[in-house]
Amino acid sequence: MTTSAELPAAEVVGSAAARLLPADTPIRFLDHDGRLVPDAGHGRYAMPRTELLTEAYRRMVLGRRFDAQATALTKQGRLAVYPSSRGQEACQIGGVLALRDTDWMFPTYRESMALVARGIDPVQALTLLRGDWHCGYDPHLTHTAPQCTPLGTHLPHAAGLAYAARRRGEDTVALAFVGDGGTSEGDFHEGLNFAAVFRAPVVFLVQNNRYAISVPLVKQTAAPSLAHKGIGYGVPSEQVDGNDTVAVLAVLCAAVERARNGHGPFLVEAHTYRIEPHTNADDASRYRDAAEVAAWQRRDPVARLESFLLATGALTDEDVGAAREHAEAYASQLRDRLLHDPEVDTGQLFEHVFAEPTPQLREQRRWLEEELRGES
């Protein structure tokens, strides 16, 4: 029998608040020009290892190039739609590098860059957006859930999957991406609450890129920050400069470590900005000024990290050149591969609805096959 009927003591509540609330300002290591700020990491987060930062840099260069290529391919009609994450490289790659390969990632439609940064084949990563199939990679092999479109709905999945792993005694962590807009959905609430109650090792990474399509943050929430949502679930939280790769990695690594060690979920809000329109189909001039975009472009995460790493000597000009070359080669290979039309296999329509198609599905498949035979 439970006796949870008593109120918690004041000290417990007060110290919980201190433990659970984010810092008043986003955690930052680098200023907009890539110089170390005086109070780096607010004194609470350790500077990530240099190799992690240089690796992040390389993948960000690759990621950005990939993203530009995907945008270009979309203009050429090679993708059905493409939501760019240009400007969000620190979050995309930070999210990936905070994880081990055996950890699970739960991306949204915006995380194509994170997918390729995770090593997923870029054509498989773009399957959804190419319109070829709903997901092109094997979630189990890649430890990456299919990109989620219905906003916030994947957060309970991440909680369940991470809890399942923990029940088996594995130390797997799940990292789930979600947008600022996505935090308004009921499933955000339920996902965080489930993760907290079941102490599921999940890191929730809110990429607050200031817009949900055209809707600016101020119409989305009246909260002091999105990270302040954590305390309502007993989930510790942090806000971080989302264009500062060092800060993003520092905070995410700490959060992942914490989750891995059995201390439950963590909520990170990364303040960043969506440089491109929502997707190629969007017309951002209808709802935001070019000046605003320009201001954020000056906070470019790639340039910022590059300056820092060059200044510290962790990176040389040659390294920078090599990273860019590699990215170019990657992009041109991708372009070539996407110049072919994908193969059309109508059998797939019926094949995966159930493990075994029902008699009705078999019948419908037969009808289509007959029809196609008639056509040809």
Binding site: T149, P150, S184, D187, A212, V215, R286, Q348
Partner: protein, 336 residues
Amino acid sequence: MAITMAQALNTALRDAMADDESVVVFGEDVGPLGGVFRVTDGIARDLGDDRCFDTPLAESGIVGFALGMAMNGFRPVVEIQFDAFAYPAWEQLVSHVSRMRNRSRGAVGVPLVVRIPYGGGIGGVEHHSDSSEAYYVHTPGLKVVIPATVPDAYSLLREAIADPDPVIVMEPKKLYWSKADVALPVRTAGFGNAEVRRPGDDVTVLAYGAAVPVALEAAEVASDRGRELEVLDVRTLVPFDDQTVAESVGKTGRCVVVHEAAGFAGVGAEMVARVQERCFHSLHAPVLRVTGFDIPYPPPILERFHLPNADRVLAAIDRLQWDDQPDPRWLTEVPA
């Protein structure tokens, strides 16, 4: 001047808002952006951003908030961005919107319109092409209307806004850019009236939304081949026009139902059931359905294999036992 269905809807909203201060339009991205399909284009600017405004990204909240406003003197018209994103609002729609009047013995009406762009054929990725009308149609207390023409888009939306009850307006995405020469305002037949889009004596084709042009295309071809299809645009699924349908099938003796949604327990099943109940002795052949397969909506490159098209309608018509010899397909399922 030719205008698109999207423009007709836009004008309907504007006209309704001009006529009635209590009409407000809200949802995701309907303000400055004008909606992802631009149906609310310019409305916030021209009529005020208190009349047409963006909300937080939460469909259950949108519909529930709209219900609260509808309980208190407003006539909200909310936009759901894509059909599948009405699903988070499901509980609000089924447990509250559809029941509030009944629950309160008529004391609290819910003059609320939920606009849902539905259906495929636009190359949308997953969750952007569902046809979910059957779910709403099966829910007592909701009216469900689906325009297939530009004038109907205007008129049905105006009528939905004026209606004292909640109306789900399913807007066929594929037809948003279809055009017609029409002077607005225009009023077409009211709720509960199917429309004969093309008269014919041989087969009745029941369709709605994006399936109507498909049926008309089939009728064109069939006519060349000597069969005259009577194409009925059902227009309002709830309330349903039994009379026009029965009159037509009573005359033709054959019937095919066309829609894009999965067939199993779709709206077409209800139409078939009603037709065979009411016209049993007039029927020369079973009522056939041409629908989407019973599969999740496919990705863009496969959608054309899923969507009903004129050829499939024609094939179904060919199977209507014209020489009164049972089609072997039916016999295979029946024991000797």
